[in-house]
Amino acid sequence: MKKSDVPQDRSHLKAGNHKELCYAVDDKGEYTTAQSTGWKPKAIALDNAIEEINNRISKAKTRVLNKETSPIEYYMELHKMDVSILASYVGLFKWQVKRHFKLKIFNKLSTKTLEKYANVFEISMNKLKDIDYGN
């Protein structure tokens, strides 16, 4: 890539006033660095990834409101986690976390366990039990 070809496209980087460093060759063929505000192909990829996450969040929300899953799954998606990441944050096994998605089990969870989740998601117990709490 030539230095003059280092892309300066619009991206989330640019929106946040960030620039990243790229390596490129100057007119004499010498390697140098240049800042870039972003490149379209990856901006689209990131947009799609974010959209995908938002879809997952809204699907999880609907499932919680339909009483098909516990609020834990919704908050997990909201924090861009998957079961294994959440399990390591709360210090439980993956199968335990999955079990806590079941409403019947969730409703019987001890305060201590619920607090673990509330702490990881940084929300109150009320909000953990009811995703619409306070709205």
């Binding site: 890539m1 280092v6 929106a15 960030h18 490129a24 800042q35 990856k42 986690m81």
Partner: protein
């Protein structure tokens, strides 16, 4: 307290931390040098591991390896510490800052507040330098950022004790012993040999073979996973290749810069030629990313389009195979 530390922006965090720490200690080592000597270049399809619900593909070696190999090859000693308790991690950090010793830290990105929200994923192998503490705030030099920044001790604790894959456990590291002169020439040769070995490894998911393997998977994705998932996967490959930190073209441009610098140090013209060749390969990776982005942009691609980008990858694999065989001979 503030250590008299100069921040230089780099493309990648691990190279950057090493390069900046070396410069602080009086050794002018560029980012490409660190990357090349540490044999950072790689391609690996990581089976079983999913990142953001898509297959994990890496264009670089395992986190921590670059510094480890670099240190060993140029002859510096590093001290590494991990901690069980956050309080202990903070105390040892403070002690080092009091002794005027800037340190590297491995951190998770998700809670890194100065990153744009869109980039905050659960990725735990990010690196930064702490060079001081003022009014309870830590002074941070994050090499991928343009300028220095600060974090509160609570914020720093959170990123040092992020959980999940590659959990940092407060991981802190810094150089402790330097030779009179760095063993650069030999280090370069060792670094290059290691990279050639990695890229030509007779393993199905690593190096050139890994690129071919990925191409094969791309051909299968639309039928096996459906267009939506296939596009998500393809987007993930492009992000791994181009998102913050690779310097463009999945680290290939940084590597070309390393070869150019090395050709001067070793007085080896062949390396300068190969640097140009690597730039061409980097451009091919960029073309691949561009064409892949056309697929996931339109969202209704035909099988043909997937076959097309898969063929691009196979062509790249052929080129890199020839390239690394030649590179091996050149040193």
């Amino acid at each position: 307290m503030e250590i008299n530390f100069t921040h230089h922006q780099t493309a990648h965090c691990e190279n950057g931390v090493v390069s900046n720490l070396m410069k602080y200690n009086g050794f002018d080592v560029s980012e490409p040098m660190v990357f090349g000597i540490g044999s950072g270049l790689m391609f690996c399809y990581i089976p079983f591991l999913k990142v953001n619900h898509a297959p994990a593909i890496s264009y670089r070696t395992m986190p921590g390896q670059i510094f480890k190999r670099f240190a060993k090859r140029v002859g510096i000693k590093i001290k590494k510490e991990k901690f069980k308790k956050p309080q202990e991690a903070e105390a040892v950090l403070d002690e080092n800052l009091k002794k005027n010793n800037p340190v590297g830290l491995q951190v998770g990105v998700y809670n890194l507040v100065y990153f744009p929200d869109e980039y905050r994923f659960h990725f735990n192998a990010h690196n930064l330098i702490v060079y001081g503490k003022q009014n309870g705030n830590y002074l941070i030099s994050d090499p991928v950022m343009e300028t220095v920044t600060t974090l509160t001790s609570k914020e720093l604790e959170k990123v040092r004790f992020a959980k999940g894959a590659f959990a940092p456990n407060g991981h802190m590291y810094y150089p402790v012993g330097f030779p009179k002169e760095l063993n650069i020439k030999e280090a370069i040769i060792k670094g290059i040999k290691n990279t050639c070995r990695d890229m030509l490894a007779p393993m199905p998911i690593i190096g050139v073979k890994g690129i071919r393997y990925t191409a094969k998977l791309i051909r299968k994705w639309p039928k096996k996973k459906g267009v939506k998932v296939a596009n998500h996967y393809l987007g993930q490959i492009v992000r791994m290749q181009e998102e913050i930190g690779t310097g463009g073209g999945g680290f290939r441009y940084i590597y070309a810069a390393f070869l150019q610098e090395s050709s001067k140090i070793l007085n080896n013209n062949k390396l300068a030629e190969l640097s140009k060749e690597m730039t061409v390969i980097g451009d091919l990776w960029r073309d691949f990313a561009l064409d892949a982005s056309r697929i996931y942009k339109s969202r209704s691609a035909k099988d043909d389009a997937y076959n097309h980008v898969a063929s691009q990858l196979e062509a790249i694999a052929d080129k890199e195979e020839t390239f690394f065989k030649e590179l091996k001979k050149a040193i």
